[in-house]
Symmetry: C2
Subunit: 481 residues, 2 copies
């Protein structure tokens, strides 16, 4: 008999029908009630066994984690907590699960412990919810761009170029480390490497995205990117997924409008499509926050926070305005910031971003027009201000609890200005000739941004460690599974 | 004035309105007719300039590739080949394009030449069409799985495991090749590497996909995979994208049904959403085929071939049946095959696959139940047949002109059988303990397959070299851009 997904049965109303369910035992109570989960829903279905007529040796095998196939009548449940249940006719064990050895037991496990058994944590409610939301957000991103006629573009993963002009990268090589080919001067002979030159994992698909945008008009990438930075934080991964739209004929305002509407669209999609999961995650977060001192708890629960984001326009201010706010802020006056804000030009730290978002504006903030010296070479240069200060048409979106979730800019489209800036910043102009061709042949104003996918998932799920929102996190000294 | 996309204008009927179009000049004829393309459509819009009232120096800058902004009245076109055109009021050059230096001219360029300027080839009709179809296919894949409740799962790119148990891999490292840390015995000390161990680029997300499927029920991956194979063919890339669904409770028939319906769904989606592009690509292919001898040309044009795939069930036969067909086939009898089929157990070559698909059945073929010795360790073992031959529950889908487009199997779910096979094939059982946990704790019958995305795009676009269906191909000695 064909199996029915539990998700569908939980909403069924045609009682009396015979159904087959296949899934894993979550709990088995009173020698009678099996809670079965098949992954289709965060919720289990209850199957009721008649233990008087069931072989005892079979009942003993109904341990947490065992795989079962159950066929029986779908009936209205009299018990509390569920609307429907299955009156078991046939019961088959598909795969046993030795309770002595199985690491997942029907009790609360710490996130740290579950991280060590990342291959099994998918089987918990928390990670069922997290990865369902992640799935919904990924689909919503594709749906948003598809509706707007953007072209999804796969930028290369292995690359000889470094988009940021900096950033630590992973080498990709087939060179035998026990037998390195060398040039006469002793340097490594990369001509012998697979690609005939030195190659790395990409840190961004932006430059290739610009090439495509200046042909298709509007494109986006959605792929893995890499940073070989030795940072062991709750916000950094060595391998993470990024969405990078790039749009011809967009100025900085168009760019901000697009980013804001994208974020709102995907949050709304999650609210509309992941009700059960977000409800569960809201409860999880509330439990977690109970362990915190009162003043560190959020004012809003998870779902209220998401709705709040939808209902309010993101605050748009310039870097210069932000510096003025921060300079005269209480924590700056009282020297509570670790890095005090004194002069224009300072790079903003996480504490400053959080102050602006969480204390001052109490909503998402878009900071624009950063000092040129703390931003990348490709950003459009503003005219110097009345004090002779140089800024660029950058924009960063800061989210509560997350910090920077989007970083973008209008791009410098004037060849001479771009070349001058590259020279100043020691970016090899010659090597990047292909990139500069976009400014040489039919250059147009254009803009783009990068959205860190895991940071978005963090925000929407209310999880607090980025390692808990990607299936198999890669961090310094850790590439398990 | 806000720009309107050319795609929308080409379908507009409200003549007389003022519109602004921004895009690139494809051609400028008779000092009067500008063909403008903005990437939103493969088709151009015609803008008509009144050269008597336009500055001559401006007209001279209307060269192929120049970026322009044009505002004027949308009018019904009297000329042939277009329904609407713009009567230019205002004309602005956004970015010049020096005709002497611009590599793309309004003439036919060879695909080989365009591959060398892959950063500009997006601007041609052929590559506009190819990458629009690629975009549509990618979206259709997500849509298909989303509608069926599959969870999209990002399997890791950097990995310490090798899914196939073989396959040449790229090393990922931050070790300084000029200063390699070594153990006392002289071997490389990977504890000093970024992840504290030797890591590679993934060759498949399948094993991690199985972990997720045995929790969520049905999952799929869609991400880049890598092979460091030194094969310079029209069908191989070192970096390519793969879709890998993995489903709990699916046997081999369910697996084949899913693969067939996925392929038909996405082909239908392309036909429904990329009419103009496929029409163009059909013409391109016809031109290309004219250069071939009559007997090498296709019977069907591109669109007929796609429809043919939709209208016919894929032929499902076992490897053993295929061998019998091939053994008694004309090219085998007449010794026209390069590799003659003599004995059961032979691996099928491209010539044999093509014979089955293109000559014998004349439609897509699914081959099942291959000899165990030519397939991977994780495939479900059949009972030995009456002649004692061992086969596995594998299935490969063969497409005309492409060969293998899908490879999959039911997975061996019995722990002891899987361990035995791994030992026979020298796969380290201990290292793969996390994978074997799926068979240890609540194992269930399950299946999955891999679909090579670029091969799918090749098939649907009718292109013949895989380097022409991915933006920036990575092949031996080639990682440009």
């Amino acid at each position: 008999m064909k199996r029915t997904k539990i998700k569908d049965l939980l909403n069924a109303t045609d009682f009396g029908q015979q159904v087959t369910v296949k899934g894993w035992v979550r709990t088995f109570r009173n020698n009678q009630f099996i809670a079965i989960n098949d992954g289709s829903s965060i919720n289990n279905i209850q199957a009721v066994v008649d233990f008087t007529s069931t072989d005892e040796s079979l009942l003993k095998r109904l341990t947490t984690g065992a795989a079962v196939s159950v066929t029986g009548e779908l009936v209205e449940s009299l018990g509390k907590g569920q609307r429907v249940e299955i009156k078991v006719g046939q019961l088959e064990i598909l795969g046993d699960c030795d309770a002595e050895k199985y690491p997942l037991q029907p009790k609360k496990h710490s996130l740290e412990f579950l991280r060590e058994i990342a291959h099994l944590r998918f089987r918990t409610n928390t990670f069922n919810a997290v990865f369902k939301v992640r799935n919904a957000l990924a689909f919503a991103i594709h749906k948003f761009f598809n509706e707007q006629g953007f072209v999804y573009m796969h930028s290369p993963i292995i690359t000889g170029s470094d988009a940021e002009g900096a950033g630590e990268m992973f080498r990709v090589t087939t060179i035998d480390l026990d037998n390195i080919p060398r040039n006469e001067d002793g340097s490594v002979n990369y001509k012998e490497d697979f690609f005939g030159k030195s190659t790395n994992l990409t840190v961004s698909g932006q430059l290739e995205g610009e090439l495509a945008a200046l042909a298709f008009g509007e494109i986006y990438t959605f792929g893995p990117t890499f940073r070989a930075e030795n940072s062991n934080t709750t916000r950094h991964l060595a391998e993470f997924w990024m969405i990078e739209p790039e749009m011809a004929f967009y100025d900085l305002n168009d760019n901000m409008d697009l980013a804001e509407s994208l974020l709102k669209y995907v949050i709304r999609y999650a609210l509309d499509n992941c009700g059960d999961e977000l409800e569960f995650l809201k409860g999880r977060l509330q439990e977690e926050e109970k362990l915190k001192p009162q003043n560190e708890r959020s004012d809003l629960d998870l779902i209220s926070k998401l709705n709040f984001c939808l209902e309010n326009s993101f605050e748009r201010i310039t870097y210069t305005e932000a510096i003025n706010i921060l300079k005269s802020s209480k924590p700056n006056q009282k020297k509570q910031f670790k890095y005090l804000i004194e002069d224009w030009g300072a790079d903003l730290q996480s504490e400053h971003e959080r102050y602006l978002v969480e204390k001052h504006f109490k909503k998402p903030v878009i900071l624009t027009d950063y000092p040129a010296d703390i931003k990348a070479f490709y950003m459009k240069q503003n005219d110097a201000d009345d004090q002779g200060r140089n800024t660029v048409r950058a924009m960063d979106i800061l989210f509560p609890g997350i910090g920077e979730i989007v970083g973008g800019s209008q791009r410098e489209e004037v060849l001479e200005k771009l070349e001058r800036r590259m020279t100043e910043m020691h970016i090899p102009v010659e090597e990047m000739s292909w990139f500069l061709d976009t400014r040489r042949f039919g250059s147009v104003p254009h803009s783009g941004f990068g959205l860190g996918f895991e940071r978005l998932v963090l925000f929407v799920t209310g999880m607090t460690n980025i390692r808990d929102v990607i299936p198999f996190p890669r961090t310094p000294k850790n590439a398990e599974f």
